[in-house]
């Protein structure tokens, strides 16, 4: 329980850091962010939204108050999820834009990343179990090269060959333009169909890291006495590999989940850009290009919170899987 509280405290701290960094960034930058934002709104638009200039000042700086009082105002906006209007999606509010785009990204990266984890762990385990075998010599280098390649290049190649030339996958957007989003079968099947290729790409790009990690730890685990003991008991090879060596070897790679997930969330920006996939990543890129700072500020916060939440979930998984954590 004490362990749990300590982790919780760390995440609260991490959240505070993310919020504060988002406060400081626009204030540290040269130039006038609020002016840049307002340049994208017409005078009539500013007129019809009283208080919008003040909201932007509170969020991005340029107000007259001291840094401390601005920080308090900023925290107030964050706590009430009030990030003003997104200039590139006028008249939508920032929160509306995020609510519209984030579900696509979460579904995409959530599914793909779990698949990458399972695939990578399985391949790494088998590769270490049969050192110098076919999986170790051919599948591992292949996965590692895929992982080392820039994700956006892999996506472009896949879009061209698998999507355009072979015609196996749709290559643009999240669903057919003829379909209206809603909770019905036509939309869901169309959305799943459009997510197939991006999910496959994320899976193969990020499985490489797990393969390497798992293989290295597993090689060390196999040399442990309890594995020899399990063999001596006459247990089947598969059982020793999965229940004895594998189960123990999985813990250190699991600790790397945090960093890997953060990388995958970053990679999402590229993949969504290639596929014109209307998720949070593409929205972030468009907003950054279009000087829609209220939106980029809120999105960066969303990305950070996503990573923090994923970390927390992994901690709980670790808690369940590793008895040492529970007692220690």
């Amino acid at each position: 329980m004490r362990w749990f509280l300590r982790r919780l405290l760390f995440y609260v701290f991490a959240l505070w850091v993310a919020v504060s960094l988002n406060f400081l960034l626009p204030r540290l930058m040269p130039g006038d962010p609020v002016g840049g934002v307002l340049a994208h709104l017409s005078p009539a638009q500013i007129q019809s939204n009283p208080g919008i200039v003040q909201t932007y000042r509170d969020l991005l700086g340029g107000g007259k108050g001291s840094l401390g009082s601005e920080y308090v105002k900023y925290l107030g906006h964050v706590a009430t999820f009030d990030f003003g209007i997104s200039t590139s999606n006028y008249p939508s509010k920032v929160t509306e834009v995020i609510g519209r785009t984030l579900p696509y990204s979460i579904a995409l990266v959530g599914v793909a990343f779990l698949l990458a984890f399972v695939l990578g762990i399985a391949i790494g385990m088998v590769a270490a179990w049969r050192r110098g075998g076919i999986v170790d010599n051919f599948v591992v280098p292949a996965m590692m090269s895929l992982g080392a390649f820039p994700a956006f290049f892999t996506s472009l190649v896949a879009v061209y060959f698998l999507g355009l030339k072979a015609g196996w996958f749709p290559i643009q957007h999240a669903y057919d333009s003829a379909v209206t989003p809603g909770f019905n079968w036509t939309f869901i099947s169309s959305a799943v169909r459009h997510a197939e290729l991006p999910v496959l790409i994320i899976m193969f790009v990020y499985a490489g890291g797990w393969v390497l990690n798992m293989r290295t730890v597993m090689i060390n685990t196999i040399a442990e006495d309890y594995v020899a003991m399990a063999h001596a008991k006459g247990l089947s090879d598969t059982r020793v590999m999965t229940r004895y060596a594998g189960r123990n070897a999985i813990l250190p790679p699991l600790n790397g989940f945090a960093a890997q997930f953060a990388t995958a969330v970053g990679g999402l920006v590229f993949i969504e850009f290639v596929f014109s996939y209307p998720g949070a990543g593409l929205t972030l890129q468009q907003a950054a290009l279009g000087a829609d700072y209220p939106l980029t500020q809120a999105l960066l916060l969303v990305f950070a919170v996503t990573v923090i939440v994923a970390n927390f979930i992994m901690d709980i998984a670790n808690f369940v899987l590793d008895p040492r954590v529970r007692t220690g």
């Binding site: 626009p26 930058m29 110098g132 010599n137 820039p150 590229f270």
Partner: protein
Amino acid sequence: MSQIQPLTVDVLEQEALPAELPPLTAPAPKGRLRRAPLPQWVRLLLSNPKSRGGLIVLGAMIVVAVFAPLIATHDPNAFSLIDSRQSPSWNHLFGTTDQGADIFSQVVLGARTSLILGASAALLSTVLATTFGILGAYAGGWIDDVVNFVTNVFLVIPTIPLLVVVSGYLKTRGSLTMILIIGLTLAALEARILRGQALSLRNRDFVQAAKVAGESTPRIIFGEIMPNMVSRIAAGFVLVFYVAILTAAGLEFLGLGDMQHTSWGVTLYWAQVNSTVLQGEWWPFLFPGLALATTVAALVFILAGLDEVSNPRLRVERTHRRAWRSLLLGKGRT
């Protein structure tokens, strides 16, 4: 700390990086190599097939970058509607863009920008990470707290979105700004690795001896601790070099880099923005993408070689040939 316990690496660090091989047990190079006036670690790197391959490919790419203006056949920014959207031919080896610029020349000259950008950012972050990582570990106290705090920030904030947002705030995005923001971001990641390693060296006898002898802090950091971490720092540099090249090209690909220069990422950006892929043109993205992929793959191989040189456990001796044979001749599993 007694000498019986020479390696007090903390747990996290041990998982992240394999333990180092004591120099005495390193295989003694034989014959021709011994006479070569190369430092031992270079010889070790060259004796490992992975890092040798990587070094050769990277070397070739550097040669292309150095002699880029001589190799390029056309003006990379040429604008000609007659020449636009041509598939590869003898005149245009890699085809042309929508604006009629020669992609071969863009890729060749882009090697220069991409390598310089990556190397400068990596150098900046290595210098910062080495200084602050070791300083934090050695000095402890509030200095260490600050270093720790900054590196923890980068644990929870994904790098790419952070860089996208920062680039968005910048009105002018020149090469220098790119180097600065990429170098600073990656420095925090690298400092975490080096700090862990330095922590294990802090209490070793030779450091304590230097301290008692009244050596100054900079002297202990740069004269005593750093020389014992050279291989880690080198590995850190290669890692950051790899990430920096990818990050720089990635930001350019998103349209958020220094778009005035010729570079691989910029060529890829225009290929994407003009939706060349959707029109069935494969050359505008394939060639710059391959150049980028080859370069980063070379760096990954150098890194893998570095790992194997310092951790013999990861090496698999002569099993590749057996595996090939069994695959080709079907003589059962090895």
